[in-house]
Symmetry: C2
Subunit: 284 residues, 2 copies
């Protein structure tokens, strides 16, 4: 237990967004090799499943807390794969997934946080956002459609929104999946070469790739302006899928370990219920 507490921030501390981005193929903390990473993911998965069950049970018992994992990153950075390999480790009953595409005409009529709020996780749940409100400070900025003043206003709105969430018991874990342009080229090429992967490709991915430096600049600004004490950003080197999976799983395990979700106390007398149960016997 003491050890757990001592190391409770190890991965979060090592991956917290700083002034410099790590090498997308590096291991700032944790396993260096795939074989080790796979084993460590397995044990992180068991921890995560147990912690998630406790959080779910706490929610059933009336608890209000939840976790929101926000996944951001360039196309092919592995948002969907992370959902499959990390969130896939826990009971789907406790997971709430929401993907955010380009806002629809109806959504654009509202404040940019409107559609986000509707998808926040319920108490006891592990929510995951595959893209998020951060798209609304990234895409329009790169397209030259977001004046600096409005951008600053959105940052302030995001920070206030996330403060509201954390104040109300939702731990917000924001992850930037950081890949290299070389790795993206390999992955986009694979999506074109393999027929069963083509559905993941969209011609607009190439437009975004053309804007790579502008996106990197926009991301750097986002990481700087919206990494707060209540909701810091983590940068996960994501060129190696096994490292990415392990790192995101560990970020969730550390977060949930700190939350220390509690199985609720029964609202009934256990001995009384045991006696009642025995009294029923085995019906014919």
């Amino acid at each position: 237990m003491a050890k757990k507490q001592q190391n409770g921030n190890r991965v979060r501390d090592a991956l917290r967004a700083g002034d410099e981005l790590p090498d997308p193929a590096s291991s700032p903390v944790g396993p260096e090799k795939k074989a080790k990473g796979g084993k460590k993911l397995e044990s992180a998965g068991e921890q995560l499943a147990g912690l998630q069950e406790a959080l779910y049970a706490e929610g059933i018992g009336g608890g209000q807390r939840s976790v929101l994992l926000v996944l951001q990153g360039m196309d092919t950075s592995g948002k969907g794969g992370t959902v499959g390999h990390v969130l896939g480790l826990v009971n789907p009953m406790g997971v709430q997934y929401a993907g955010f595409k380009k806002p629809t005409a109806a959504e654009r009529k509202h404040d940019f946080l409107w559609r986000i709020r509707k998808k926040l996780p319920s108490p006891g749940h592990l929510g995951v956002f595959d893209r998020s409100h951060y798209e609304d400070v990234l895409v329009p900025r790169v397209l030259g459609q977001l004046p600096a003043a409005e951008r600053r206003q959105r940052y302030a709105q995001i920070n206030a929104f996330e403060k509201e969430l954390t104040d109300n018991g939702t731990a917000v874990v924001k992850v930037f999946l950081h890949i290299s342009p070389e790795e993206q080229l390999r992955r986009l090429t694979a999506r074109l070469d393999r027929p069963e992967k083509r559905w993941k490709f969209d011609p607009s991915d190439i437009d975004a790739r053309r804007q790579w430096p502008a996106y990197q600049k926009a991301y750097a600004d986002v990481l700087k302006r919206t990494s707060t004490a209540h909701a810091p950003w983590y940068v996960v080197p994501a060129d190696r899928k096994w490292y990415r999976n392990w790192a995101v799983a560990e970020l969730l395990v550390e977060t949930l370990t700190e939350m220390d979700p509690q199985f609720p106390e029964p609202a009934f007398d256990v001995d009384e219920q045991r006696a009642a149960l025995q009294g029923v016997g085995v019906p014919a």
Copy 2:
């Protein structure tokens, strides 16, 4: 492929609801032993994950089809465990879980299918109902609150509703998890004995157990009246969790294999996109 087609209904045919319920600890089809069952679940899981990905891709490409798994059964029959062990085998992006508890005051003001319709799976998704509209012909009947005429009316409404779903491309897989009263006693006792399981126990579980014969009668009637050609019931012997998991996974695999979901044809010229991608090169 020929073999697949020949055996494509093997598990569905064997588990389809008939006049008699199978022994809850039997294997009407498939593995007899736990070790074999575990291995077979693993391979069914791989098939299921692949089929689910194709269905999801089909949905992204504009396809309207989906799957709805309806789980019913007495308390402790393993609805939640099935979700964890079977739906947990596929990417959570493609799974939509909905649990139905006792209807709220607001829900009771509407037709009983109102709250159900709101939770139907989106195109390309694998929806799972943990309890369902069937609660509304089971519970009120056992409590003596559903006159026979109204019950018959609800059966007709359910059959029409499910016909509408299947006509519109949603495969409906209805599973009755069949446990013995002896096994339920063991599981309820375990929930009381183990503090980390107590949150799953509700004193009303004992009331329902007291009504065991009435529930069995109500279930038999439901299986008879609502097992239709478009949406038959399957009875899964569920005293052994490994058998239950394997059987439900196989029912889904057979259903999806028959649907034969298709990766969508690209809406772009692959060679053109490949050239465009190479043209961008590696941004600095």
